[in-house]
């Protein structure tokens, strides 16, 4: 079915690599790692020692101090990223905002407020909770807060599918735009999992690396949890052109699938189906893809399966692809990962530079494709895909095309 293309006109992010897209891209291009020692919450009995925390200054300081009591950290990060994306797009919603939407991917919600609440009622015996607890904790809080901040009055909601949340959010928004339900949307993901309770829960999964995130390395030891948010402004191309907006890239297609198998062990078929569905949706053959931003968590289960998946979908073309896991630099920001990686892909396409996979000392023999170890590489990129394969077997893949190749 022919439909109006969906384009990107703004991007914003806050992550372990800094407080802007410029800082984020500069680190990716230089192969700089944003992962570091856990300092907050105080490590005490936590086994987690390395995380991807947003560096100082705290993004809270970028917002009106009087709004902060009603914002959990995942909302703070989302609003900071949305501000940047909206500013770059030059879009405003003064004509009522009824043709605008906001779709946000979230893995876990309101960790800070939950820790505070349980500490108060279980440990301190407090008689009551703070009135802001529910509005802070609700998974839809970041989307609501963005809608209230900018007067967005169309579809506003959260999408949640663990580590694929951002990509599912992007897919949902793309469908809303294609079907002309809306003309523009702020779309992305946010996650703030560096709280005591959430870190404790993740420890129990035994998937966290004690050293660093080294996707595709023979001696990789797992993932590194990170916080962050990425937001983009997506628009129908006719809407963006009519207002003379600069178009950064096109979202060429989206594909979704589920493994329907194991909670944490991925299947080859599920992930492969998501990529195939995405390519079909984008009307692209495998030879049109130049770069894959891999899910690349740095766990044995993911990395080996993902390489097999790429070989099975791309066949002989797999050897020609540039692949990288930028999680080696910004860490695994769960529900926000897909949005950060979308921004990495957009910048990679615009600049013709493939960001690297860092921290590889000895490439795993089973990961024998070009995973761009160590250093970024100059390469014109026509179209790229960004993979997200989540716990629970929920998969979503986004294809991004250079705009002048429309």
């Amino acid at each position: 079915m022919e439909h109006e293309p969906v384009v990107v006109t703004g991007a914003g992010c806050v992550s372990a690599l800094g407080h802007s897209v410029e800082a984020f891209w500069s680190a990716l291009q230089d192969g700089r790692c944003g992962l570091g020692k856990l300092s907050e919450p105080s490590p005490s009995d936590l086994k987690v020692s390395i995380v991807g925390a947003v560096p100082a200054p705290d993004p809270r300081h970028m917002l009106d101090a009087r709004k902060l009591p009603m914002l959990d950290r995942f909302s703070v990060l989302a609003i900071v990223a949305a501000q940047q994306a909206l500013a770059q797009s030059g879009l405003s919603f003064e004509n009522g905002g009824h043709r605008a939407g906001c779709v946000v991917g979230v893995g876990t919600a309101g960790g800070e407020a939950i820790d505070e609440l349980y500490g108060k009622i279980y440990l301190e015996g407090a008689k009551r909770a703070n009135a802001f607890t529910v509005p802070r904790v609700m998974p839809s809080a970041p989307a609501s807060q963005i809608s209230m901040a900018y007067g967005i009055r169309g579809p506003v909601f959260t999408v949640s599918s663990a580590c694929a949340s951002s990509n599912h959010a992007i897919a949902t928004a793309v469908w809303l735009l294609r079907n002309s339900v809306i003309d523009a949307a702020i779309v992305g993901g946010t996650e703030a999992p560096l709280t005591y309770g959430i870190l404790k829960a993740w420890e129990a999964l035994r998937v966290m690396a004690p050293d660093t995130c080294r996707p595709f390395d023979r001696d990789r030891k797992g993932l590194v949890l990170a916080e962050g948010a990425g937001m983009v402004v997506l628009e129908r191309a006719d809407h963006a052109k009519a207002r003379g907006a600069e178009i950064l890239a096109q979202i060429a297609g989206v594909g979704m699938s589920a493994d329907a198998a194991d909670l944490v062990a991925p299947t080859l078929e599920g992930a492969a189906n998501a990529i195939r569905t995405c390519l079909a949706d984008a009307n692209l053959s495998v030879d049109a893809i130049d770069y894959i931003n891999a899910h690349g968590t740095g766990t044995v289960a993911n990395d080996i399966t993902e390489i097999k998946v790429i070989k099975s979908v791309f066949g002989d073309e797999a050897k020609r692809l540039s692949i990288s896991s930028t999680k080696s630099m910004h860490g695994h920001a769960l529900g926000a990962s897909g949005s950060l990686e979308l921004i990495a892909v957009i910048e990679a396409i615009r600049r013709g530079i493939v960001p690297p996979t860092i921290n590889i000392e000895q490439l795993d023999r089973e990961c024998d494709l070009d995973v761009t170890p160590g250093c970024a590489r100059a390469r014109p990129i026509r179209t790229a895909i960004s993979n997200a394969f989540a716990f629970g077997g929920t998969n979503a893949v986004v294809a991004v095309k250079r705009f002048d190749s429309l």
Binding site: A65, R66, M70, K127, R128, N130, A131, F132, P135
Partner: protein, 88 residues
């Protein structure tokens, strides 16, 4: 003689809205002070804590009923709170 309810309320509202108490007058509209519906719930719950009373209003009802600082002072009077809290 305990503290006047008006003074206690001014302190509670100032803390919740992060304002200087001197910026708050009986005529001040809560919305103009930057107080939101849930700030008002926190303010009412703080009054409950301070005076050990129960004020049976929900968030929406409270937001529709109490528009100004004077409205809250009247609420305090109707509950017989005047002078019940001793000054620090």
């Amino acid at each position: 003689m305990g503290e006047k309810i008006e003074d206690v309320l001014r302190g509670i509202i100032a803390k919740q809205a992060q304002l200087d108490p001197s910026a708050i007058t009986p005529e001040s509209a809560l919305s103009e002070l930057g107080v939101t519906s849930l700030d008002l719930v926190e303010i009412i719950m703080t009054i409950e804590d301070e005076y050990d009373v129960t004020i049976p209003v929900d968030a929406v009802e409270a937001w529709n009923s109490y528009k100004t600082v004077a409205n809250l002072v009247e609420l305090g009077h109707s509950l017989g709170l005047e002078g019940r809290r001793s000054g620090a």
